[in-house]
């Protein structure tokens, strides 16, 4: 974890309310898939708190983020221009367990919902690079809610697209093709599911995984002030027995953001 000043290389709009930012870092930082950062335009007075964003891409000395503008914090980030500075604390959080895919040869099913997709992009790239069997299921409300779909497609793995309104791909929820494929492919080798998206989507994906005996890891989002464990705000309720007692609330920032789906009280 380092607190660095990143310099904006680009900060461009992808779709209504979606932006893509790339920051040049003053030093090399090792980033694992699933990790995140806390960002704030340098010198910003208000709002005070940094915003947590999943790391979409990481080179040796640069990181990229894709973000959906939901409030005044990320609204402020949209106004940062090329050459300007952003305070960035990174890398934060844990990573996805992938041994079952890379060592045991299980198929990886990545289920992305809207702006949850950046949290899965590095994982997809890593697994494809290692020769794993990767399939991506990408759902959005409309065709405008599929940020960086082209980047997933460029990886060369199969990408199944759904939208709630049918404006792109199959009409309906992303869980429909996922369930269909799991039924068709429920072989002895099984699959490992990785998902990030809206809470109800992840809950449904976790339930489908449990029904089909697939392992499932979820990347969670929560309101957080710090990102490194001192505010104790970003907690999620976990099932008894999934973590060492006494706590039923675990911090998304340091114990997550990746959790086994069965550990979460949905």
């Amino acid at each position: 974890m380092k607190d660095l000043v990143g310099t904006v290389e680009f900060n461009r709009q992808l779709a209504p309310r979606y932006f893509h930012i790339r920051l040049r870092l003053p030093e090399a930082v090792g980033v694992l898939s699933g990790q995140f950062a806390m960002l704030r335009p340098q010198g910003l007075v208000e709002p005070i708190l940094r915003r947590a964003l999943a790391i979409h891409r990481a080179d040796a000395d640069a990181v990229e983020f894709i973000y959906l503008v939901l409030g005044r914090g990320l609204e402020a980030l949209t106004r940062v221009r090329e050459g300007e500075n952003v305070d960035v604390l990174l890398p934060l959080g844990n990573t996805y367990p992938t041994d079952a895919v890379t060592l045991e040869g299980r198929r990886a099913l990545l289920v992305a919902g809207g702006v949850g997709s950046p949290a899965l992009f590095m994982l997809a790239g890593d697994l494809v690079a290692k020769g794993a069997d990767v399939r991506v299921y990408f759902g959005g409300r409309t065709k405008f809610d599929l940020p960086a779909l082209d980047e997933f497609e460029a990886l060369g793995c199969p990408v199944t697209v759904t939208t709630d309104d049918g404006s792109a791909g199959e009409r309906g929820f992303v869980t429909a093709p996922l369930e269909r494929d799991l039924v068709a492919d429920a072989g002895p080798n099984g699959s490992v599911i990785y998902t990030c998206g809206p809470w109800p989507m992840m809950a449904r994906v976790g339930a489908i995984a449990a029904e089909r005996g697939a392992r499932c890891f979820v990347s969670l989002e929560a309101s957080m002030a710090c990102g490194f464990g001192i505010c104790v705000a970003c907690v999620v309720e976990v099932c008894e027995g999934s973590f060492a007692p006494p706590f039923k609330y675990q911090k998304v920032c340091t114990e997550g953001p990746v959790f086994p789906a069965e550990a979460i009280v949905w």
Binding site: P47, I48, S223, C231, A233, V236
Partner: protein, 319 residues
Amino acid sequence: MVSATESSRDPRLAVEVAGIRFHNPILTASGCCGYGLEFEPLFDLSRIGGICTKGLSAKPLQGNPPPRIQETPAGMLNAIGLQNIGARAFMEQKLPRLRDYDVRVLTNVFGYTVDDYVEAIHMLNDGDGIDGYELNISCPNVKEGGLIIGNDPRAAAEVTEAVKRVAKRPVIVKLSPNISDVAGMARALESAGADALSLINTLVGVSIDIHTRRPRIANVTGGLSGPAIRPVAVRMVWQAAGAVKIPLVGIGGIATAEDAVEFLIAGATAVQIGTASFYDPLATVKAVDGLSAYLDKTGVASVSELTGSIDLSPPPRGH
């Protein structure tokens, strides 16, 4: 990481509060620094004056259900609910590692009843490497009549006296700002034996989502912190300074050395930085360096000269 040595320190920053020597007046605030060790990857803990831990209770506490925070103008509301590992686990798991650093450790202590406080203090008395206690008396439940300890000078004094009887270390009592008579509360605590006072804790607030009409925090009410509360905190430090002789530790929206200096001038001997560490994790060490720079620039000999130096003479004409 190389630990800060005595020679690398600025002797002009040294202060003493409640008999505890701090090599500078910048402390972390309880609830905004975990157990201190969370900052290990970011800076050498020996560079700051002290660490005031997250509130510890005799037994572990689960805390409140989420959502626990909401950002507000120049601040935030929180209702964490004092989730903590308990005094025993703190001493076993955290304290030994804190002893690796030359930094004073204050354990913030929290309870629902007088007996809870006494039980926690009894446990912590055995901890090697604890320099003092800070009593969090802003909790909403006590044994008799549901009074809020921190709002009632008699209840607050009762807790302070009970803790002072068993505490083997200095006791700093942290004031709630949700009171009308700061001076009266400060005097009551001084009479009860408090070695110092720290102020302020958070201001109670509510934030409502106008679309769902639901409170934005599961606990409904939360504590307001951050730069928004700074003037309230400076006012209360100034009022307390006029009422008691024991030293004061200023808390409330401090983010920079300049903010810290404002509290010293109002009457504080040391300060705690809280919410600022959330958005600027290096805020404490930056403030230490900033205090040295302030002394260089102004020619003031030491930070202790600033304490209580507020100038209340009429402002010059034209202002």
